[in-house]
Structure formats: structure tokens, C-alpha cells
């Protein structure tokens, strides 16, 4: 039965005689020797609004300062079953076909607010999956939009079915976008 000796030392300075590399390496003092070069920002984040409600929110997020994130609105009308026919309109940037916008993407965040986005969500998710691009799906009111949630599920590596604007912002910051 453990006795009363449960009180840890007040600092992490290892015993003077320890030879354990982990004890020496894990001190706060050793943190100062970690290589300190700027971490390159993500260069290939695309934030794609899939419907009008999502577009309004995405535009507000786009107005903030970002390193390299590109903000787009998807137009799946006329795409049929082929994602290659999707058009992506840039928010503050050029419009182009799907292929052009995804060619150097490494993360695609898909934003939806209602079930009208279901087809576009599936097509874009599928296109990213084909290209091995990491994806996240954020649905602004997933309870009211079950079809778009279901359309995102097969391909979105992460799905937030009840997201809000701050979720988009926080994820972009975390991704260094």
C-alpha cells in the first residue's frame, strides 16, 4: 500500500548523478536548445464554401489576415457526376476549375450550411480523396442538414457537424494557414 511519500519535487531538476538521457532532455532548461527556425506556414489550404450561407461566413473569415489560405465558393451546377466540371469562384481571387485550384492543395476545408450543398460536398470530397488531399468538413447546422453531413462523411478526414465561424478560424490558425 503506498504510503505518504506522494509529494513530487517542486522542480524537474534531475538528481545530479542520473545518467538517464530522458531526465536531462526533458527539463525546461533543455527546451532552450531546441532548433528555433520559423516553421513554414501551410501553403496549400483551400477553404471552399459549398452554398450561399457558407459563402457569407467564409467571406467574413477570408477578410481576416491569413498567410496563404485561399478562399473559394463552389459551383456544382452543371457538374453532373464529374467533379472535374465543378467551378470554384475565388473570394478575392480568381475563379477556375477544380483541377486548377487543387493542384497544389494539401488541405481542403469544406464549409456547408444546408442540404443544397450535398452534391457539391460529395463531389469535392471525392475529388480530394482521389488526389490524397487531407479534408475537413464543417457543417454550420448539421442537425438541419443531414444530407450534406452524410455526403461529407465518406471522404472528410474530420467532420464537425455543428461548427460555427470560430471553428473555421481556429482550425485555420492551428493549420498555420
Amino acid at each position: 500500500m503506498p504510503g505518504p511519500l506522494t509529494y513530487p519535487p517542486t522542480t524537474q531538476v534531475p538528481p545530479a548523478r542520473t545518467l538517464a538521457s530522458c531526465a536531462r532532455a526533458a527539463t525546461a532548461a533543455e527546451l532552450a536548445y531546441r532548433i528555433d527556425v520559423p516553421i513554414a506556414p501551410s501553403r496549400g489550404v483551400r477553404v471552399v464554401a459549398l452554398d450561399d450561407g457558407a459563402a457569407a461566413m467564409t467571406a467574413r473569415v477570408a477578410a481576416r489576415e491569413w498567410v496563404s489560405a485561399r478562399f473559394l465558393v463552389a459551383d456544382a451546377t452543371g457538374a453532373g457526376d464529374d467533379p472535374a466540371d465543378m467551378l470554384l469562384h475565388g473570394i478575392g481571387g480568381p475563379s477556375a476549375g477544380l483541377e486548377e485550384h487543387l493542384v497544389d492543395a494539401d488541405v481542403v476545408m469544406m464549409i456547408a450550411s444546408n442540404d443544397s450543398a450535398a452534391t457539391g460536398a460529395y463531389l469535392l470530397g471525392y475529388a480530394c480523396w482521389q488526389r490524397s488531399i487531407m479534408t475537413a468538413g464543417l457543417v454550420l447546422d448539421g442537425l438541419a442538414a443531414p444530407e450534406v453531413v452524410a455526403a461529407l462523411r465518406p471522404h472528410a478526414r474530420v467532420l464537425l457537424p455543428a461548427a460555427d465561424e470560430s471553428d473555421i478560424v481556429e482550425m485555420l490558425i492551428a493549420l498555420r494557414a
Binding site: 503506498p2 534531475p14 538517464a20 526533458a26 525546461a28 527546451l31 478526414r157
Partner: protein
Amino acid sequence: MLRREINDLLTQTGPKTPMGEMFRQYWMPALLAEELAEDDCPQVRIKLLSERLVAFRDSEGRYGLIDEFCAHRGASLWFGRVEEGGIRCAYHGWKFDVTGQCVEVPSEADNSSFCANVKLRSYPLVKLGDMLWTYMGDPATIPPLPQWEFALVPPEQTYSSKRWQQSNWLQAFEGGIDSSHVTFLHSGGLKSDPLFRGAKGNEYNLHDTKPFFEVVDAEGGLFVGARRNAEEGKYYWRITPWIMPNFTMVPPRGDHPIHGHFWVPIDDENCWAYSFDYHPVRALTTDERQAMIDGHGVHSENIPGTYRPVANMDNDYLMDREAQRRGDYYSGIKGIAIQDSSLQESMGPIVDRTKERLVPADSGIIKARQKLRKAVLALRDEGVTPPGVDPAHHHVRSAAVVLDAKEAFLDSCRDAVRVVPGTPVASV
């Protein structure tokens, strides 16, 4: 990546810090009940939220958690004597009761009222299940006692342990909601650990190393669903609840007991990992309990007389490169708990999150940090009680289920992630 000021906000839990004030809204594990096993047993000194305290159990079985240092000259009461309804300082004999009230100053006259005006800071200390719980906030806003299922089932159905982790609480806690590391770091344990092995779910875990995630708000925090391929047209879901600020549960495996953790700050560079196992409908078997005592599953083998793991940073966690090569342990470290603590401690006492490179699969962690930050600021700026204080938020379970590919995990599992006393967990 987290901005430095947000990292500081979430990792500093001492008195008067915003996160420290938030922790002080909750009942928190302070000790295991076994540490104060009988009346007038030796006292225990502990540090919680950067406050040094001494805990004792008086002659009538009352628990006390008071300032470690005598009001007279500041000597530690750890050297004192627990006797006759209180704790007496070994230096000059001043005596305090479980509320911190000074009840005797030997140098004063017998009828002196001097000691009535001497009181040490004290916090309530209450036994619930295998743990002693404290509340370190404003006595005027003390919430009802917690209602965690592991602490409410009969004693034969539950087991708790603890271990000292040499890192900030946040990096320890974040491991608790990071389901994607299981397939790698703990892959050996899924095959061999007596508290994990044999479950059908382990096969799904090991065969699909690229889980998909869904992160859903809960009243008290989050549910993080990790989805892996199962049979054709089916998904295997592991659902991890997090209740703010520091309670996590691990999804179950087969009929093994279900388990989880509390991550309690000692100070900003150390925390206690409290680990529990329980079964909601049956007693733990002798073998299960012995496996827990031996440090299997989420528990650790500790140095006798302490709560420090046998494998720790001073012995390189007993790294076994041969076992790593053979695949017994993915990292070369034995035991689920130490596999986690070794890597989390390697990040340094407080990891510099400005240097992270997160990916979408880390969304559970991203969302948890966001919720913590919002709650801390809402409490500080508007006095809003944070999620998880209300005992109704404690009625959660983890779950592991196989669902049709079209099903949303939380829609299909609302009953499975809710405590219904006396019913089994949903487990594969």
C-alpha cells in the same frame, strides 16, 4: 499551432490565474482514499493547482485538507501529529482541526480566546468511490458533489490508481482525446495487455491505421468519434467523451472494464494522472483487479511507497530496444500509461505549442482548446459557470460500436454514451 498567450492561458493553473480560477469551479480528485486509510493515520502533503496542502483524517474519520504550513512560524504540518481530533504542529504544538481552525495554542492560558482568531486556509475533502475529492473555489458557489459513474458503482465494480506525470496537465489531457495515436503507440498492448486483448474491436483498430474523425459538442464538453473500416458497409466507431476541464474516458474493448482519467494539475510542470476502471454491471474479477494493481491497462506499476511509476524519466522509462524491434511495444516502452507519459514528458514540462504543425485529424484537440479558452474567458469576464460543473454533465460513457456506414455516430449512440445505471456499456 497555438498562440503563446493562449498556451499560457490554458497551462497556468495557479491561484489568481484565469485557468486556475476555472479549475477552482470543480470538484477534483485530491487523493486516493487509500492514502488516508484509517482514522488518525499519517497525514499526506500534496500540491494541487500550485497550492501546498496537507491532508489528514482525524480521530472521528473526518477528512481535512488545509494549508501545509503552521500559522505560527510556517513549519510544515507534515511533521506534525494527527491526534485527538486534529493535527498538531511538531514545532510548538499548535493544533488545527479539519476546517483549519486553530483549536489549541499550548503556550496560551487554558481559557485564552487567542486561537479562535487563527485559521488556516482549508478546503472540503470528501470520499466518493475510491477517491477523496476537493473543491478549491469560493465556498459560496460550491457545486453539488460529482456524479461520475465510476465513483458511484459498488466498490467491487471499480478500481482507481494514480501516477505522477512530469508535465503540464494540458499535454497529458490532450493524449486522452487523441484517438489516432492508439493504432501506433499502443499497438503492442492491443494484442497483449490482459485488460485490452481479445476484443473484436482491436482487429478493426489494427487493420485501419487512418481513422476518420467526427467532433460533436456535448453539454459538458465534447464527444470525439473515431471511425475505422469494419465489415463491408460498416464502420467501427470509438467514441471518446471529454467533460470539462479534465475528465476523459477511453472507449471500451469487448467485456473488459471501461476506463478513463482525470488529469489534475499539481503545478504548471507536473500533474496527477488519476486512472479508473469499472464495470457497470458486474464485479471486477480477481484477475482483472490484480492486472490493474500490477499496472496493466491504463494503470502503472509504481515505486512502492510512492505514486511515481517504476519506469520514469530517470531510468529512460526502461526503454527496451529489442522489444521495440520485435514489435512487442511500438516505442520500446512497456505499458499503455508509460507509453503515453514518456512521450508527453519528452515534449518538455510545458510544450511550446507555437511550434506545432497540426493537421485536420487533430480537430478534437483544436476544438477542446477552443472550448477551454472560451470557458475561461467567459468565467473571467462575465462570471459564467463553465460546462462540466453541473453533475448532470457527468452522466456520460465512452462507447465502441459497429454501425451501418450511413449512420451518424451520435444519432445512433445517444443512449450508448449516456449513463443508465445497471446497464452494460456499448462495446465491441
